[in-house]
Every structure is written in C-alpha cells, then in structure tokens.
C-alpha cells in the first residue's frame, strides 16, 4: 500500500494529491503536464513536497510535520524513469547488479531469464535497442529488491509493435513478484491491460469524475 498525501510546488505549478493506492498496479493516467512524473519523483525522493506525507508498507518516507525526509538511496524504491538512464560506461550485467542489496532473494539468472536479457548481459549499453534498454532497466530496478516499483512511461520510446511484445514481461513482473507498481502512461490500452486501479491526474489534481476511456 502507498499513502500519498502531499502538496508540491514547482514554479507556477502545484501538485496536490490525497490517495491511498492499494492495488497491485495503479496506473497514473492523464495528459502531459498533469504532474504524473512529479508524483513518482516525490515517492522516489527526487523532489521534495512543500507539505504533507508519503508512506509505504515498510514505513514513512516523508513527513514534513515530523521532519522526516529519507534520502533516495534509503527509500528502496525501484524507479524506471522515462529515459531509463542506464549507465553508459557499464555493461548490462554491471547495470543490473548495480543496486543489488545484501540478502537479495532474487537471483540474477531468474530476473535475466524472466525479462529475457540473458544473452545481453555482456553487451555495452550503446549496443542495445530501445526495447532491450527498457527490459534491462526493469531488471536493474528489480535487483535492488524494491518495496515499490515506479514505471514512468516505460514504453513511450518503443513502437506499438514492440510495446505489445514487452507487455507480457511487465505482466510477469506484476504477477510473480509481490511488489506494488505505480505505472505512468498515456496509453489507454496499456492501462486496460496492466492496471487494476486508475488514478487520473489533471493539472496537478486527481480528477473527480469516474474514469472513462475517451478514444
């Protein structure tokens, strides 16, 4: 479960959210500029809310009133950003193992075969295709044994054809690992396929009206 109850200001933009996310996969849906990425950044500790609190099952990540603000490296949040940001000076294997924690139950082999990147482990990042990069980034986040997984339009840079081929991998992550996922996307089909719950953001607020697809 993830509790989001905060206000965050960024220039002239204000994001205000009061939500309790209890689903396996929550889709953050809405037009660009609605504040979807900002929500993920706040959970990961990359942006600091002006007030309020953020908590997950394992504890409080941020609480302005109590003076709690865990730095990103102590939050145990797996974040696959839109640009994936694989380390360009490392091999795929070094990337995937970068965040491995002591006592990590997941083995590299298991994660690599689930995402079918076994054959890529000794490649360098510049040699990977867009879809391969996405899978490596997901594997890297999984290996850090996260309490929560954040995906920011992980498939935005991938064409529709490949996107459909990556969905099964994400479904496996969802079904085989019991980690709550917050998934930012523009794509209604993706929401339909992967999410159990939808939070619709509009201009920094959660939209009240019930969610409907407007194709």
């Amino acid at each position: 479960m993830i509790l989001l109850d905060f206000t965050l200001r960024q220039g002239g933009f204000t994001l205000e959210i009061h939500e309790r996310l209890a689903a396996r996969v929550t889709a953050l849906f809405g037009p660009s500029g609605a504040g979807k990425t900002t929500v993920l950044d706040a959970i990961a500790g990359l942006r600091r809310p002006a007030s309020g609190s953020i908590a997950i099952d394992s504890g409080i990540l941020f609480d302005r009133a109590a003076g709690i603000d865990l730095p990103p490296h102590k939050r145990h949040i797996g974040y696959v950003a839109q640009d994936v940001a694989l380390f360009p000076h490392m091999t795929v294997r070094q990337n995937v193992l970068y965040g491995r924690r002591e006592g990590q139950k997941l083995a590299l082999d298991a994660v690599a075969s689930m995402l079918e990147i076994d054959r890529l482990l000794d490649r360098r990042v510049p040699q990977l295709s867009g879809g391969e990069r996405q899978r490596v980034a997901v594997a890297r986040a999984l290996m850090s044994a996260p309490q929560v997984l954040l995906f920011d339009e992980p498939l935005a840079a991938v064409d529709v054809e490949r996107r459909r081929r990556i969905w099964p991998y994400l479904e496996r992550v969802r079904d085989e690992l019991r980690v709550p996922i917050v998934y930012v996307t523009h794509d209604p089909v993706e929401v339909d396929r992967l999410a159990d719950h939808v939070v619709r953001l509009e201009n920094g607020r959660v939209a009240d009206r019930p969610f409907t697809f407007l194709h």
Partner: protein, 221 residues
Amino acid sequence: MDVWQITWFTLATAALATALMVPPGLLIAWALARKRFRGRLLLDTIVSLPLVMPPVATGLLLLTLFAPLGPIGRVLARAGVQLVFTWKAVVLAMTVMGLPLFVRTVRAGFEQVDHRFEAAAATLGAAPWRVFLTVTLPLARPAVIGGAVLGFARAIGEFGATIMIAGSIPGATRTLAVAIYSLSEIGRTGEAAGLVLISAAIAFAALWWSNRLVWTAGENA
C-alpha cells in the same frame, strides 16, 4: 650544470604536485558543480585567484605565509619542517598554481554529467559517495585526465611563484623554467636553449598523451 638532474627534478616535483592537486581538486570541483552552499562564490573566486594574479605576487604571498616566522611556517617549524627554499616549496608553488586549471576543467566535466544517471544510482540505493565514485567520476573521466594534464603542464612551466618561495638553488630547487631564466641571465644561452628543447619535448608528450586518451574515451562512449 646537470641537465638530467634538472629534468628529473622538474618531472618529479610536477608529478607530485599533480598528485597533490587531485584530492582537493576533485572535492572542490564537485562542490562547485553540484552543491549550492554559502560561500560558493567565494570558494570559486579564491581557487581561481592564482590563475589571474601575477604568479610573483602569489609567490610572495606564499612566502609570507610559509616563512619560518609566518603564520603557517611557524607551525611547520615547530613540527621540524623547513619548507621555503627547499624542494617542498617547489611542489607547493606548483600545486597552488596548477590547482585552478585542474578545478575548472574537472568542474566543467562534472557539470556535463547528466543528473539522471546520478538520480538513477541514488534510487538504486547508492549513497552519495558511491554515486560520485561509480557514476560521476567515471563519466567525467576525460575531463579529469585533461585537468590533470593541464595542471601538470602548468606545474612544469611554473616560474614566478617558484622563484619567490624556492629560489634557484642548483641541485636543490632549480627547475627547468627557473634554470632557463638563471642561465640566460648570466649569458649561458646555449645551455638555456638546450633546456628549452627539453621543456618543449615534455609539453609535447604530455599533450599528445592526453589528447589521445580523450579521443579514445570519446570513441568508446
């Protein structure tokens, strides 16, 4: 005059000075590139000062500070360390004069490293020092090498501050640059010309090597 002694002495002191520039230089460059703190502008200005001040003025300032009765020299003297007019003074002058070039080059390199990689490393559980050592530093490698070579080259060529704080004592503090000056002063221009050739060869080799490293790094990126 022992040409090889002077050449060896210059290379060794410059190498040591470069090694001494690196730890504080990396720290200052990183702080200037990545941190917002009080006194940032002041630090930036002070570090760059030797680049703009006449080297002789920097030398006189160092001499005042490090002379046996100066504020720092007194402390050193009590510890039994004599600095001015020894090889240690040569290294000090070279370090102070080379540091601004190292810091400016490395800082620009750090600023070019995309924040997203550092943010990704942090969310993967890396503490700030680990992010620096495994992400920021390797990605800025060409700038770090380039900065070290510039600092080394500046150290080899150091003259003004060196002559003030270390003098020109044959066999003890005389570097290539100082020897070229001292020898031409007394009309031994032939020998000075020989040292000029050696200086040029060293400079050429250092730049060639650094350019090659930077190019190779660029091709692998």
